[in-house]
Symmetry: C2
Subunit: 286 residues, 2 copies
């Protein structure tokens, strides 16, 4: 009996004999994966124990990202909350009183980084869209749009924007939001994008909606607490998350993008919007 159980256990461990999956022209090559720097990863742990990981758009919104780093290093968000969840609009977090003193070194009025320097997409989508003459994906995996004069990161589902008061305010970066429904592209060029959620989006998108004005929870008890927000670079090496993004400046991503726009028959090809192109990331060992 012992022997036969052992034999079964060994059989169960043996990998099934499967032919290797064919490599498609649209598949990433190993070298297409590139590391996201530790100080461009913001790790938000909710009071529920769930973790949301944000990739920071450091080269597109340097002043706001500098503020975000300063706030994270000061532990400024620890004990704060997700205080607004508006159906088909945004989840927003930070200090609901908007009265908490900023951490030392935070620039209260950073430059408005609503637009970015240039339209530098490595892969461009075939069609104009409702919001821009051109759109595409940067080499380092950001969705971008432009009109020939200006360029901007797009407020797709899961992007992270900086909440602000009425224009010309740009916000400091202490109050952040992410679109949780239809993309929020009417915020493009009017709000600063500081990042994108690359893991744990469902812990924000599935939070209960508030029916109160603008989706701000009516009572503190409805909020979801934030245990901590840290830069990965400030997390001890042994527990530090590591991520890579799929780069797009290669023919494999170009093939992937074309497949997304032009599906194989019998499916009718419909196109693809810049917010509907999956931008792959993966967790890797430290």
């Amino acid at each position: 009996m012992l022997i036969s159980l052992l034999a079964l256990a060994i059989a169960a461990q043996a990998p099934p004999v499967m032919p290797p999956a064919p490599v498609l022209p649209s598949d990433a090559a190993e070298g297409d994966w590139r590391a996201i720097p530790d100080d461009e990863l913001l790790v938000m742990t909710l009071a529920t124990g769930k973790t949301v990981v944000i990739r920071l758009a450091a080269r597109f919104a340097p002043e706001h990202v500098a503020n975000v780093r300063t706030l994270a290093r000061a532990g400024w968000w620890n004990g704060e909350s997700v205080y607004r969840v508006q159906e088909n609009w945004v989840a927003q977090w930070g200090d609901p009183s908007e009265k908490k003193a900023m951490a030392p070194g935070v620039k209260a009025v950073p430059a408005a980084e609503f637009e970015i320097a240039a339209f530098d997409a490595a892969q461009i989508l075939s069609r104009p869209d409702s919001y821009s003459a051109r759109s595409g994906i940067t080499a380092d995996g950001w969705p971008i749009a432009g009109d020939g004069k200006a360029a901007w990161l797009t407020h797709c589902y899961g992007m992270v924007g900086v909440a602000r008061d009425a224009l010309p305010s740009t916000g400091s970066g202490s109050e952040l939001f992410t679109p949780i429904g239809q993309s929020a592209r009417r915020l493009d060029r009017n709000y600063t994008v500081v990042g994108r959620i690359i893991e744990g989006m469902q812990y924000l998108s599935a939070l209960p909606r508030s029916d109160a004005t603008m989706g701000f929870y009516a009572t503190p008890g409805e909020r979801t607490g934030i245990a901590s927000v840290r830069l990965a670079s400030d997390i001890p090496a042994a527990e530090r998350p590591k991520f890579q993004y799929r780069s797009t400046d290669n023919p494999r991503f170009a093939a992937y993008l074309r497949l997304r726009e032009v599906a194989a028959p019998p499916t009718v090809p419909t196109g693809a919007s810049v917010c509907d192109v999956p931008l792959a990331v993966r967790r890797v060992a430290g």
Copy 2:
């Protein structure tokens, strides 16, 4: 003490003296609101007690809507569940076994209603989008797109589509889904749209996501039960919900649409997509 409390209560009931809000050119006139027929309202009551109301696209997908009505009248969905919730994709409900016998009178293979007869938008958006040369809103408040040859309802957030097997299957209408994230327009012309959620969307969009394959819950305990799905026309008059939609074949909605596309300064006008035009409905007394 009693008197002063009474005085306070009376004071609290007195309406504050406010000037009447000015009527804007983009505001609906009273006559712009039109009744949604009782047999075009599908009322899904979840086991949680929450209600989701769907407006049926009877004139665009007549065979599928006929099936939906037959299934509702047979109580076919009662006791079934929301069995799939995939992050940034869809919530889907019906019979997870896909083995339950259809109700008598249900057409097992209805006509594929992926496209509709004509592009009959009353108001057309200014720009082409990533998925269509033209898009707009029909007079009776449906988002629509076309390419000069065909036309179709668009898979925006909150639209209701018919789940199906691989093409050329069109599905019977027993398994329904709604996009809960970024719009799902790559399903346009490949899936049949049978309606739009007009109330209670948050009771589907905020359900916990499943990490299992394609978001199908791994265990029955994760599903959200469906207490009943009924046509409003089959609900006793005293408790029957009544809804009106805002019609769009009038200059007031045209002004509203232009405002949506071209925001007032200092906001930079960004445009609007067909999925980002709110299509107003309102509950009215019976």
